[in-house]
Amino acid sequence: MRSKTHIQTTINGEERDFLCEPRQSLLEVLRDTLNLTGTKEGCNDGNCGSCTVTLDGRLVTSCLVLAVEAEGREIGTIEGVAQGNHLHPIQKAFLENAALQCGVCTPGFIVATKVLLEKEPDPSEERIRFFLANNLCRCTGYDKIVQAVQAAALNLRGTKETQA
């Protein structure tokens, strides 16, 4: 048996620890060790975006991050997007706009969209398409995904103005 490393990290705001081999990716540990299977594997070489998570707020493809790199970092996955029983406005917008078919790319798109709209509350269509070009979807042709992101952006801006 290969020796394992003890890693302490924060996932979706909760402190977590796990043992991993040096060769294991963050994706593998999220899915197989921590049972956070909402993060999907599509290619395992950083080209499809299905495994997109945040690492200290930055978008990463978790298949290209070693699990040991999670030490002391903050990780955000699809499981942390909804607030308790309430869907995030982005999740609602994806449902209301029929922005998913098979759904396997959806977690990656939602995690990426959340980062986009936190940074840029009013992105243009071109900007949305550019930002989400890291995430492949083969079912929808992207039309309804772009519309869902636009709808979510509008909703989130409205919520912010109401709060202000």
Binding site: K40, D45, G103, F130, C139, K144
Partner: protein, 754 residues
């Protein structure tokens, strides 16, 4: 039949939506269980080779390894027995040979052996220790080369079936089919203008984001449980049973959520291997394919060589058409040349036509269905020729198509007469569309149109409805849901019962828990399983009438039901209230239906596209794209639009970028998503959709399948647009930047269009 619907045509939130936006939906690779082992498959590095020996001893001895298997671990079976692959049969020897190679490997990536170990890394390391001695053989990669005499033979016992008759000829041509109508020579003699072109298309992959996967447990009582992502759980059950030579009743397949399929997740690759590894280890075994294996070893759609010749009179009436279609089946017979032959001229009423089709094996992965399989290749050729004909005749390309359009009663070249179809309605909608009516200005720009046809199939489907005391209904079905079919099926039951879509709760269950249900494919699911839901709902209505009759002490036939309200002799009760009283009126109400419907309607789709070509780089930009499709009846219009948009963008990728880039020795050089360049969000515009509804008389609600026809016309429409932008005819797919530059350069050096 009333066409005033309360549920059909609305856009409810899909029933599996919350699971899919929160990451809770469980796909095949998400299966976890106690004692789980992980499998890895060793694949051939050669495109064509004889296996001289396999030594697994070092792998078996590697720490953490629990079992190693090769084809010799499969039971001896009659290889000529036919097995159902979902949309057609194949000899068991081919199905089994593709799962684990026998004495030869036929393509790079062909499975050779498999390892089960404590984790996937150990399994992969151990697979590297398996020693296989190959005698490398020359390979053949393209249909035209494989058809030449003296070409390397893939199967030394493959005898050509010639026009339906078995022959003694051994070759790579599995079959030659011919369809004819009228007198082809006399037809061309009537023509004022004839256009003839040759076309080539590359092998392309469905490109679903989720890799194939399977988990199997061979239990101590001999029963096998399989969890996988598949388009057809019953096909997995039946095919696995045939390969393992055990009765179908001994296998239970649980279809997990499926991350895309498009036809490519009908064949069985991993399930029998995982089952056998489980038998050897006594533990559950999971195998997930690496992406490279998905490209190299699962079924893409055929590459093809085609020649199409069409003749027309000056007034635009097409008098004769001829096609020669040679399709690459990959390693085992079964190229989609039959549907290609049946669809190549399907949009037209042509008196004289002849189609020759060849199913050719080559050293590439065994092809599988991909959205309207065969039809996009054929339409690329035919619709390009029709476009050129329109130019030569000086007729608007849509007017030329309308003049010759197939209608109800038109006899297809392959025999049958069309029932009610929407070819004319689609062409008219294209012509009247805001897109086609708008001007297109600017240099290096062009507009193209094309139309395409695809069949729908029926196949068996089953459905059970359980009435809850609160008046909601649980719907049990066996059609795996790739793109929202839970919703489209539940909505049909809701319409009959007078309930809201949200009051039906659909669940896709395992093969032990529902009657036989065919694959999610062939544009059949909303049609056929929707029909089963319709019939099951009628069964519920019948029983609910009996319950109301009991309450009121009248005969059941005296009770009328409409919109969820049951009435008789001045009495009236709503479905919900009546559901609350089923316990006192006889116990549970369960509606059932098992159907095998005929009457699947064909679907036509049209594409209108504007492109701009950068003459410096050869890059083609899609400026605007409109998809028009006859869907019969749109049950859930948002998911209908989604199918149209998705198919269109796959067509754009196929047209502009996607190809299996093969080295001469049969290695796919671009087997990753980085190099096999599928469209990203940045590569495409919004896809405009126009839903045409010509109800299918063969379905209670008029449903036609919507999943496939939309991928048929985009390639030709884009080629036509690019031809108009450059003045050069494009006859090869993909029309990638290098191909475009070459065409522009050739144009500069010669007045002949390439």
């Amino acid at each position: 039949m009333s066409t005033q619907y309360s549920v059909i045509g609305t856009r409810p939130i899909r029933h599996d939506g919350a699971d899919k936006v929160t990451g809770r939906a469980l796909y095949g690779a998400d299966v976890q269980m106690a004692g789980l082992l992980h499998g890895f498959i060793l694949r051939s590095p050669h495109a064509h080779a004889r296996i001289l020996s396999i030594d697994t001893s070092k792998a078996a001895a590697f720490p953490g390894v629990k079992a190693v298997i090769t084809t010799h671990d499969f039971p001896a079976v009659d290889g000529n027995k036919m097995v159902d692959l979902g949309e057609g049969d194949t000899p068991l020897s081919y199905a089994r040979g593709n799962v684990l190679a026998g004495d030869k490997v036929l393509y790079r990536g062909h499975a050779v052996a498999a390892v089960a170990a404590v984790n996937a890394h150990v399994a992969e390391e151990a697979a590297g220790l398996i020693e296989v001695v190959y005698e490398v053989l020359p390979c053949v990669l393209h249909a035209v080369d494989a058809m030449r005499s003296g070409a390397p033979l893939l199967h030394e016992d493959l005898r050509t079936t010639e026009l339906g008759e078995a022959t003694t000829t051994i070759s790579n041509i599995a079959q030659h089919i011919r369809q004819s109508k009228g007198d082809i020579e006399a037809g061309f003699a009537l023509a004022d203008v004839i256009v003839e072109r040759e076309f080539h298309t590359s092998t392309v992959h469905q490109g679903y984001i989720e890799p194939h996967n399977a988990t199997a447990l061979w239990n101590n009582d001999g029963r096998i449980s399989i969890w996988c992502s598949t388009q057809g759980s019953f096909v997995v059950r039946d095919c696995t049973a045939a390969i393992l030579d055990i009765p179908v009743s001994q296998i239970k397949v649980t279809p997990m959520e499926i991350g895309g399929g498009f036809g490519g997740k009908i064949p069985v690759y991993l399930e029998p291997v995982a089952a056998l590894l489980s038998k050897k280890t006594g533990r559950p075994v999971k195998i997930v394919m690496p992406r490279q294996a998905v490209f190299e070893a699962t079924g893409p759609t055929p590459g093809s060589y085609m020649k199409v010749k069409v003749g027309a009179k000056k007034d635009g009436s097409i008098v004769a058409a001829q096609a020669y279609l040679a399709f690459e089946a990959g390693a085992y017979p079964g190229a989609m040349v039959v549907p290609a032959s049946m669809t190549v001229f399907a949009a037209y009423d042509i008196a004289n036509a002849l189609v020759d089709g060849y199913d050719v094996v080559v050293n590439k992965p065994s092809t599988a269905a991909y959205r309207a399989p065969g039809a996009p290749n054929a339409a690329f050729a035919m619709e390009s020729v029709v476009d050129e004909l329109a130019l030569k005749l000086g007729i608007d390309p849509l007017d030329l198509r309308l003049r010759n359009a197939a209608k109800e009663g038109t006899r297809r070249v392959d025999g049958p007469r069309f029932p009610r179809i929407g070819c004319v309605e689609v062409l008219e909608a294209m012509k009247n569309s805001p897109h086609y009516q708008s001007p297109l200005g600017g240099p290096n720009r062009g507009r193209g149109v094309a139309i395409g046809f695809w069949f729908n199939i029926g196949l068996p489907s089953s459905c059970t409805l359980n009435v809850c005391a609160d008046g909601n209904v649980n719907l049990i079905e066996g059609s795996t849901d790739i793109g929202g079919s839970r919703a489209s099926i539940a909505m049909q039951a809701a319409e009959v019962l007078g309930l809201a879509a949200e009051e039906i709760h659909p669940t896709v269950v395992d093969t032990d828990s529902i009657g036989y249900t065919g694959v999610t494919g062939g544009s059949r699911t909303t049609f056929a399983t929707g029909w089963a839901a319709y019939e099951a709902a009628q069964d519920v209505v019948r029983q609910m009438k009996e319950r109301a009759a009991k309450l009121w002490d009248v005969k059941p036939e005296a009770v009328e039901a409409s919109g969820g309200v049951y009435k008789s002799n001045g009495n009236s009760i709503g479905f919900k209230e009546l559901a609350g009283r089923i316990a006192e009126t006889g116990g549970p109400v369960v509606g059932r239906a098992a159907v095998n419907p005929r009457g699947a309607g064909g679907s036509f789709a049209g594409s209108i596209v504007d492109v701009e070509i950068d003459p410096e780089t050869g890059k083609t930009t899609i400026l605007r794209f409109t998809c028009v499709q006859d869907v019969g009846r749109a049950i859930h219009p948002a998911y209908v639009e989604g199918q149209m948009q998705g198919g269109s963008v796959q067509g754009i990728g196929w047209a502009l970028n996607e190809e299996y880039f093969m080295s001469p020795d049969g290695r796919m050089m671009n087997s990753s998503f980085l190099d096999y360049r599928m469209p990203t969000a940045l590569d495409v515009p919004m896809i405009e959709t126009i839903i045409v509804e010509v109800p299918n008389p063969g379905h209670p609600f008029g449903v036609r399948g919507v999943g496939e026809a939309n991928i048929v016309p985009p390639q030709a429409a884009i080629a036509n647009a690019m031809s108009h932008a450059t003045g050069t005819r494009f006859t090869r797919l993909p029309m990638s930047p290098p191909a475009v530059m070459e065409a522009i350069w050739c144009q500069g050096s010669s007045s002949q269009p390439s």
